[in-house]
């Protein structure tokens, strides 16, 4: 590559513009990264409030706080906001901030498009959230929006939901294109592919996944739109369509989407563990290959979400076998992390604590995933709280913990100040305990037979639901500490060095803290 010979010398070295226009017109990857992260924090808190209202309703049997229809709106919006509004933008935000710093690029490859892809999001989500106040209420068909519940039987607000999905899809695709262009074209001289930090690698692969599947999601919601408004029958049996087709197309998007939400998390953890173990990442090459392998495999396992729709035996066996095999590269990653820690020299600052919790709890989520892959057993687990427990274990102490780990890890680089370690640890321990109290009992109620997405339940599920609700409030409220910690870190001057962490390696740690508005205007030379 090495196309940076003629650099961006013409660009002036000025600071940020003043006032609101700085944020509206900015093309600076750091500004945009910051906006993504704040946006995702707001969405995380909003989606969290919805989760808490769900848990409050489920604290005891009986209908206490809300009507069943509103409960369904809450579960739907909680899922959509957390997936598309919190987790994905947070990863894009981290990529915006860190990828150029890690590869020695002055900015993202397509800065103007970068500005667009962020600013679409607030509009998309305002539209989505506004459906809550519309006649007939917000979407109430679950975040998987199975037809015909989401077409023929949907509230009128479904059209707004479809456009919101279109908009955030466009945003994600533009973000992904930008990241690929940056990584492939803007690497500093000497930064070869095999020297790329793992976070960059995982994001590169994730970006390709995004480009491959977000259009399929756009396609499926477009088909819904046509069924609802233009009299087509993609998913309507009366016109020769098939509701099961919806599930196939949706999960063809949905399963890679699951990996979109976890691969960057693998990358973050693979940055943090070596830093705090003061030892190089074990099996770097294997990690890269395993990531690519998981990405490819994610395209041929989708129907394991639909074992109960009545597939022929051969189909069930195919998806069962392929799903079980995807466990191998995932397992390899966990082994590599453990081997990295082995015979290291470990310290346990907040980012490391989150990363360690990630490894353990994600693995537990992986185990339940393996159990769900076994088709005959899945007939009992499918659509119960066991599934809810499974994917929350993978997404909350998985994806979300990795984001928090990344935030604590890079916060000193962003602000130039050290966060308060004690408060960080407090946040970690409360979150860790809260998450387990919330989601572990869900395994039990799921196995005992509680279906998911119900606003009220039979008496034998009462105890564990009460426990889970208590845990949810512990976890939810302790996130206020995260907000506090971030704000403190910005406001309280506790200057830190460029290196920040003793064991940290990589280009991002060679620039001063806080990272100047423009970095690597002169590309660094990587040996």
């Amino acid at each position: 590559m090495g196309t940076l010979e003629q650099t961006v010398e013409t660009e002036e070295h000025h600071g940020p513009a003043r006032g609101i226009t700085r944020w509206l017109y900015t093309t600076n990857h750091k500004d945009i990264g910051t906006m993504y992260l704040w946006f995702s924090l707001i969405m995380f808190l909003l989606g969290g409030c919805m989760a808490l209202s769900i848990r409050a309703e489920l604290f005891q049997p009986g209908l206490q706080l809300m009507a069943p229809n509103f409960f369904n709106q809450m579960t739907t919006m909680h899922g959509l906001i957390m997936v598309f509004g919190a987790v994905m933008p947070a990863f894009v935000g981290l990529a915006n901030w860190m990828v150029p710093l890690m590869i020695g690029a002055p900015d993202m490859a397509l800065p103007r498009m970068n500005n667009w892809s962020f600013w679409i999001l607030p509009f998309a989500f305002s539209m989505m959230v506004s459906t809550l106040f519309m006649e007939g209420g917000a979407p109430n068909f679950g975040w998987t929006f199975y037809a015909p519940l989401s077409t023929t039987y949907a509230p009128p607000s479904v059209t707004f939901f479809i456009f919101a999905v279109h908009m955030m899809g466009i945003s994600s695709i533009m973000g992904a294109i930008n990241i690929i262009a940056t990584i492939l074209n803007l690497r500093a001289p000497g930064m070869t592919m095999m020297k790329l930090p793992l976070f960059v690698w995982t994001w590169l692969i994730t970006a390709f996944l995004l480009i491959a599947v977000m259009p399929v999601l756009a396609g499926v919601v477009t088909m819904m739109l046509m069924d609802i408004h233009f009299g087509t029958s993609f998913f309507n049996a009366a016109g020769g369509g098939d509701p099961v087709l919806f599930q196939h197309v949706f999960w063809f998007f949905g399963h890679p989407e699951v990996y979109i939400m976890i691969l960057p998390a693998f990358g973050i953890v693979s940055q943090i563990i070596p830093t705090f173990a003061r030892k190089k990442l074990f099996g770097y090459a294997s990690m890269v290959y395993a990531t690519a392998s998981i990405a490819f495999l994610s395209f041929i396992v989708w129907a394991h979400h639909m074992f109960t729709v009545g597939m022929p035996l051969a189909g069930e066996l195919f998806f069962m076998f392929s799903t079980m095999l995807i466990a191998v590269p995932t397992g390899v990653k966990v082994f590599n992390w453990v081997a990295t820690m082995f015979r290291g020299s470990m310290t346990f600052e907040t980012p490391m604590l989150f990363a360690l919790a990630f490894v353990v709890l994600f693995t537990i989520g992986g185990f339940s995933g393996l159990m769900l892959a076994i088709a005959p057993a899945d007939f009992q687990y499918h659509d119960t709280y066991f599934v809810v427990a499974h994917f929350h274990y993978v997404l909350v102490p998985g994806a979300v913990f990795s984001i928090m780990a990344g935030v604590y890890y890079w916060l000193p680089k962003w602000t130039g100040n050290m966060y308060h370690e004690g408060m960080g640890k407090l946040h970690f321990w409360l979150s860790f305990i809260g998450v387990n109290i919330t989601f572990f009992p869900m395994h039990f109620v799921g196995l005992a037979g509680m279906p998911r997405r119900i606003p009220d339940y039979a008496l034998q599920f009462a105890d564990f639901n009460a426990v889970a609700s208590v845990g949810a409030f512990i976890f939810g409220l302790s996130q206020l500490l995260l907000v506090y910690n971030v704000i403190q870190c910005i406001r309280v001057k506790r200057h830190t060095t460029a290196q920040v962490w003793e064991g940290a390696e990589g280009l991002e740690w060679t620039v001063p803290s806080p990272a100047p508005y423009h970095t690597f205007a002169q590309p660094p030379l990587v040996k």
């Binding site: 199975y146 519940l149 023929t152 030892k279 066996l317 820690m341 020299s345 387990n436 196995l447 105890d463």
Partner: protein
């Protein structure tokens, strides 16, 4: 893992608002050969996962304790070992094969296509089930029988809160029963954990499942696929009876049907119909139109002060009997008998200040139902 589990269970005991029925933390072995096979499979995988977990987390814990900087541990400098990596790829691979073999065997057993002795068509409705015994003249709806006051926390919850229905599915013990599942509106999923049967009911398509229950008893389940507002309120109850008891029940059902048509020819007073109507309304209509008749704005229309309720009855009767296309209003022609239909229509026309004074007789409805 088990420690955390126990700790949580203990915590649950302390925090629990009341000591409800004993709690269950695992899958139930169930009462069919298949369900027991599934249970065994579940336990096998579970223990394999526990074993892997112990090894992986054990090594991790060992490193965390021993290889920490505060203990003076120096970082070693190894970061690659192809042999080790190959081993930890091959070993899980073989473990997976060990899981796949029993799983495949169980799955193949589930797909047995042998002849069934009883075929029942199961149709999912928003939010109830309809059971049609093929070859017998038995066809009934099965909906939640838990009183609304219990759900609204106005009275003590019963033992089978939300898991009880008015008409359970009755099947004979030891006989192969085939279920043909389909749906009237959205996708539902028929699930009874004790039988390890879960199959989606899809509108326009037919799915099949089968079961041979080995022990008489009552087994409860729920709809497992989100199907709208009252997804949480459409339980399934299977009453498995001995061969003789099943025959007896068949005879009773047929007799009850004859009696119902007799009742339709009797004379009913307004007061009687209103009383019966209120009961039918609260059971069948109140989920959408609400007990107060006010509906839910934007979703379900109000019946209170609704012009149809006080105008000439035929339009009203038509909507109740035939439903309203393109809306959630179902056709109740087959769901309710003539007396119930007449009662509920009369009730709607005279309750909540809809004082039309009209009396719709069962005889009138019977004629329309022909």
């Amino acid at each position: 893992m088990t420690l955390i589990g126990r700790g949580l269970a203990l915590l649950g005991l302390i925090l629990s608002p009341s000591a409800y029925a004993e709690w269950q933390v695992n899958l139930m072995p169930g009462v069919t050969e298949i369900s027991r096979a599934v249970y065994d499979l579940h336990m096998t995988i579970f223990w394999i996962c526990v074993a892997i977990g112990v090894v992986v987390f054990g090594i991790m814990l060992y490193s965390i304790i021993n290889h920490r900087k505060s203990r003076g541990a120096k970082a070693h400098n190894f970061h690659e070992n192809t042999l080790v990596e190959i081993i930890w790829t091959i070993v899980p691979f073989f473990i997976l094969i060990g899981m796949a073999v029993p799983a495949t065997a169980t799955l193949i057993k589930m797909y047995d296509k042998g002849e069934a002795e009883l075929d029942i068509q199961v149709t999912g409705f928003q939010w109830k089930w309809r059971y049609h015994y093929l070859g017998e003249d038995i066809d009934f709806f099965s909906s939640l029988s838990t009183p609304r006051e219990q759900i609204a926390n106005e009275s003590e919850k019963g033992e089978h809160y939300l898991l009880e229905v008015d008409n359970p599915l009755v099947i004979p013990v030891g006989k192969k029963v085939r279920l043909l599942l389909t749906s009237n509106d959205v996708i539902h999923s028929w699930w009874v954990p004790g039988l390890a049967v879960k199959k989606d009911a899809i509108p326009g398509f037919i799915n099949e499942a089968w079961t041979v229950v080995t022990e008489p008893g009552i087994y409860r389940g729920q709809c497992a696929e989100l199907c709208g507002k009252d997804h949480g309120f459409m339980p399934i109850v299977v009453d498995v009876r001995s061969e003789e008891d099943y025959k007896l029940w068949l005879a009773e059902m047929k007799q009850a049907k004859a009696q119902a048509s007799d009742a339709a020819t009797q004379d009913w007073t307004l007061a009687d119909l209103m009383e019966k109507g209120e009961e039918v309304y609260n059971r069948t209509c109140a989920a959408c139109h609400q007990v107060t008749g006010e509906g839910i704005p934007g979703a379900f229309p109000a019946l209170k002060n609704n012009p149809i309720m006080v105008a000439e009855p035929s339009a009203h009767i038509d909507v109740v009997l035939n439903g309203k296309a393109g809306t959630a209003m179902q056709a109740f022609r087959d769901q309710l008998d003539a007396v119930e239909l007449a009662a509920v229509i009369t009730y709607e026309r005279n309750a909540w200040g809809n004082n039309s004074g009209d009396l719709v007789t069962p005889a009138q409805i019977s004629k329309l139902k022909q």
